[in-house]
């Protein structure tokens, strides 16, 4: 995550002293209610899936069904907000998402499927932070990291806030988590 913070700071330095001073005056802590609005995450998921996959999603109140083999993509936030956007689905849903994006069928979670899931997470992270103007301008994104495997758990220690939503599309489920571990 440090590289993301460094990139965000470097990005601001390029804008000159006036820009730095303006940036330092911005505080997300005063708008934490807006930043943590669950509706922003739902709108981002709907926008990304409708635009890039041509499918509708609906939020599901029940937790994501357990599937031993899963695919997780993580995109880090750095800058005024530090944390991560995490996308998680079972392997069948991941292959289905990649199929919608590419027009190809996948028998296994290969590099193309991982690439597709990483990009979905990247777009979700970008769309989510874009809902709050101060966040869009003062928060950088890392390149996606994708994890595959069986029966692993994600643990985050004492976040500032966390949104953890499950969604359904075409009878399949996935979960999107936004974790904020620091807010300036």
């Amino acid at each position: 995550m440090n590289s993301v913070r460094a990139a965000a700071i470097a990005c601001k330095r390029e804008g000159g002293n006036d820009e730095m001073e303006r940036t330092m005056a911005v505080s997300l802590r005063e708008s934490v209610q807006l930043v943590s609005d669950p509706g922003n995450l739902d709108a981002s998921v709907e926008e990304v899936f409708q635009t890039m996959l041509g499918v509708s999603c609906r939020r599901d109140s029940s937790p994501m069904p357990h599937e031993a083999e899963s695919v997780t993509a993580v995109v880090g936030f750095g800058g005024l907000l530090s944390g991560a956007c995490v996308f998680r689905s079972g392997s069948i849903a991941a292959r289905k998402i990649a199929a919608h994006m590419t027009g190809m069928e996948f028998e296994e979670v290969d590099d193309t499927v991982k690439d597709a899931i990483g990009e979905i997470c990247n777009m979700l992270a970008g769309s989510w932070k874009g809902k709050v103007p101060d966040l869009a301008a003062n928060c950088g994104l890392s390149v996606p990291a994708v994890i595959t495997g069986r029966d692993y758990k994600l643990h985050v220690q004492a976040p500032e806030f966390q949104l953890n939503h499950t969604y359904c599309f075409e009878d399949m489920s996935f979960a999107v988590t936004v974790v904020c571990d620091g807010l300036q």
Partner: protein, 127 residues
């Protein structure tokens, strides 16, 4: 419209294919596509290939899209060729940085084929 030689720079091979598909849906059937997975690779392509259009992501490892754009201008590679940034970064500040670095267009991910058409075709007509 004659053949359009296009360089698509994105660290995601899936996104490169999606951008290519969107260009074809925009009516650019005679498309010759060169791909690069980073700004460094993109510069290597431009040193040996002539192109009519460049579309580049911003967030990429090894050399990001803005530095790629600055290097194109600094090394006088592809003079006069329109560059469109395609990225998840959507703030006015990011758009301003891209324009200052020499981009002619900006498309935010997620995007539709119609948006690609609206941003790209006028640039090709003007070039």
């Amino acid at each position: 419209m004659s053949e359009i030689r296009t360089l698509i720079v994105d660290d995601s091979s899936v996104m490169r294919k999606i951008v290519e598909r969107a260009l074809r849906q925009a009516g650019l059937d005679l498309l010759v596509v060169h791909e690069a997975g980073s700004g460094v690779e993109g510069l290597d392509v431009l040193k040996v290939k002539q192109v009519d259009l460049i579309l580049s992501d911003i967030n990429m490892p090894s050399m990001d899209g803005l530095e790629f754009l600055r290097q194109i201008r600094a090394q006088n590679l592809a003079p006069g060729v329109p560059v469109v940034m395609i990225t998840t970064e959507s703030s006015e500040e990011h758009v301003k940085q891209a324009i200052q670095a020499g981009a002619q267009g900006y498309i935010r991910k997620p995007f539709t084929a119609e948006q690609v058409k609206e941003r790209v075709l006028p640039l090709l007509s003007a070039a």
